[in-house]
């Protein structure tokens, strides 16, 4: 008998399966079970299949899988889904239509460890946290898309999972509902300290939520990187649609006498003009590389508010006659600037040089 593997605080293994003409072969992987891991890739790359295989929902799955040392898959043997302690939120919520909202939540609470004893108390707490307290007696068919996902999230949490799997939970929602649900997911992940596997094909959701990114293509896991690392290479698949983007971490401070808010991280400070209803809790700022210009001397007489001293660390040829300049900010964070190759040449830019980054616009990720 092989020696038992000590618990390792990771989801690790190598999963394989064939469904029709699609083949999943992840390669060997290991994912820390803390924070939010986002599975990112184009439609059809196998993200959903991988998540369902991790949940044990595809009988054809082969290979190996361990969750914090516990055996979940070993060849053709698989730990049945009900024994895996997973909370799963599906793209279309998959609520039980023959039960109302309370019935759906009870279904989960009664089968969770601890069971019946304080089911109604737990339901009240979780319903309150997810904002569905007023919906408990509603029929599923009367809920909006955003409400359905909230109920699905509440139901998954009531199962008292050790791992939360979210399969494109906001992709079917309108902008407003999407933003609200992302805030909720972010908060729940932080409060419960549950490891989260989150699937999306939208770079904005990655930038908003991810602690680390699992890049998938053609049924393989290409690489697993912390978010900042994934955002620091200009050829990142995250930039395929909108071009390079930087995500800056920091905290928002109250607006000053000029009505400008300050976004601060160490010695870094940006001034923003925000709409009145912006979330004060936002911790991430999104800057598109094409909204950042470079100057070799501090410019005067400009309407641009944010002029930041930076150090060039690399210059990458980008699309067409453009160059992506990787800049290190005063606090150590990375900012990307997209400029023309002509400007780069004329200004004589070199790695190591100290220059000024002019930021034309930013977006708060709330």
């Amino acid at each position: 008998m092989p020696a038992p593997t000590p618990p390792s605080g990771a989801i690790e293994g190598h999963l394989r399966l064939t469904q029709g003409s699609f083949r999943l072969d992840t390669g060997s992987f290991s994912l820390p079970t803390q924070g939010i891991s986002v599975l990112f890739g184009r439609s059809g790359c196998g993200k959903s299949t991988l998540l369902r295989a991790i949940a044990g929902l595809i009988p054809a799955t082969r290979g190996t899988l361990r969750f914090q040392g516990q055996r979940w898959q070993d060849g053709a043997w698989a730990l049945p889904t009900p024994a895996r302690d997973i909370g799963f939120v599906f793209q279309n919520a998959a609520l039980f239509a023959h039960l109302n909202v309370r019935g759906n939540l009870l279904f989960a609470a009664r089968r969770a460890p601890g069971g019946d004893q304080n089911a109604s108390e737990l339901i009240a707490t979780i319903a309150d946290r997810t904002g569905v307290s007023d919906l408990l007696d509603h029929a599923i068919s009367s809920l909006s898309g955003g409400q359905r996902q909230r109920v699905a999230l509440a139901r998954a949490l009531l199962a008292r999972p050790r791992l939360l799997c979210l399969d494109e939970p906001v992709s079917a929602l309108d902008w407003h509902a999407r933003s609200e649900l992302l805030t909720l997911i972010e908060g729940v992940a932080r409060d419960t300290a549950l490891p989260v596997l989150y699937i999306t094909h939208a770079p904005q959701e990655v930038e908003r939520l991810a602690d680390r990114v699992v890049f998938m293509a053609h049924g393989r896991i290409e690489c697993i990187e912390p978010l900042q690392q994934a955002l620091s290479r200009p050829d990142s698949p995250l930039f395929d649609d909108e071009g390079p983007v930087s995500v800056l971490q920091g905290a928002l401070q109250a607006s000053d006498a000029n009505g400008l808010s300050h976004f601060v991280h160490g010695v870094l400070q940006l001034r923003l003009s925000l709409p009145p209803d912006s979330a004060a809790s936002a911790t991430r700022l999104r800057v598109r590389a094409r909204d950042v210009s470079i100057a070799t001397q501090e410019p005067q007489g400009l309407s641009i508010l944010n002029r930041l001293p930076v150090t060039l660390t690399a210059l990458h040829p980008g699309d067409g006659a453009r160059v992506v300049a990787v800049c290190q900010l005063a606090d150590g964070q990375t900012l990307l600037a997209e400029i023309t190759a002509y400007s780069c040449q004329t200004l004589g830019l070199q790695p190591g040089q100290n220059v000024w980054a002019l930021v034309k616009s930013v977006a708060l990720m709330d």
Binding site: R84, I86, F88, L95, A97, L99, N100, A112, S141, A156
Partner: protein, 230 residues
């Protein structure tokens, strides 16, 4: 009691007993069979589906004829029963019960099969992630989600068994209290030119069938209405 003769009451009671037992047994039998037909990828699936549907196209006399041979004293089943010291099943209540079950099988299987095939796989998956095992899912998700189809199966099976004639005629004959169901009794009265009695029983059957279906459609609309689930 004054409207109907003792013999007529007996026929009605026997019919209700036969239809009730048939429906009960068929539900237990048809649910797993319909599940297998709807969800399995077995290569035998089409053959079994065709076998189950046979009573829809065969004349009841054909079914009755084969069952008579099979269940009679010289048949494989009837002969075995006799060898064990039990009565064979031809011309008995238990014989026409077996006949009814086979004859009404497709009416119980078909609605359940359609409902099971139309189930949302993601809901089943969601139930599995919520720690519901296979039987738990079947009783607490599959059956409640299919309640419209179950009602359909019950009503159609019951009504169809009440309306059965050919299989009983071939297999059971017309033994009072044993195999003389209402449809048999009507036939006998007509043969004996007792039109008054034939009229009474026929009218009862007509009324029963109409009101059963009427109630069924009224209930079904409510049960299937997704806006007011319980």
């Amino acid at each position: 009691m004054t409207l109907l003769s003792a013999g007529e009451w007996q026929a009605i009671g026997l019919t209700a007993q036969l239809a009730g037992l048939t429906t009960l047994i068929l539900l237990l039998l048809a649910a797993p069979l319909a599940w297998w037909l709807a969800r399995s990828a077995s290569r035998w699936r089409n053959a079994v589906a065709a076998l189950v549907a046979l009573p829809l196209v065969l004349p009841p006399t054909v079914i009755g004829f084969y069952l008579l041979i099979l269940l009679g004293p010289r048949g494989a089943v009837g002969g075995t029963l006799q060898a064990l010291g039990l009565p064979h099943l031809a011309f008995s209540f238990w014989g026409i019960l077996v006949g009814s079950i086979i004859y009404s099988l497709p009416f119980a299987v078909q609605p359940l099969r359609e409902a099971f095939a139309a189930l949302d796989q993601q809901q089943l998956d969601a139930a599995a992630t919520l720690r519901a095992g296979a039987l738990d899912r079947f009783f607490h998700l599959v059956l409640p989600s299919s309640r419209g189809a179950i009602l359909t199966a019950v009503v159609i099976t019951f009504a169809h068994t009440v309306g059965e004639f050919g299989v009983v005629a071939m297999l059971g004959g017309s033994i009072a209290g044993e195999t003389r169901v209402v449809s048999m009794a009507i036939y006998d009265y007509t043969q004996a030119l007792e039109y008054g009695a034939a009229h009474r029983l026929s009218a009862i059957l007509l009324g029963f069938s109409f009101f059963t279906l009427l109630t069924f459609y009224a209930i079904n609309q409510r049960v299937l209405n997704p806006l007011h689930p319980r």
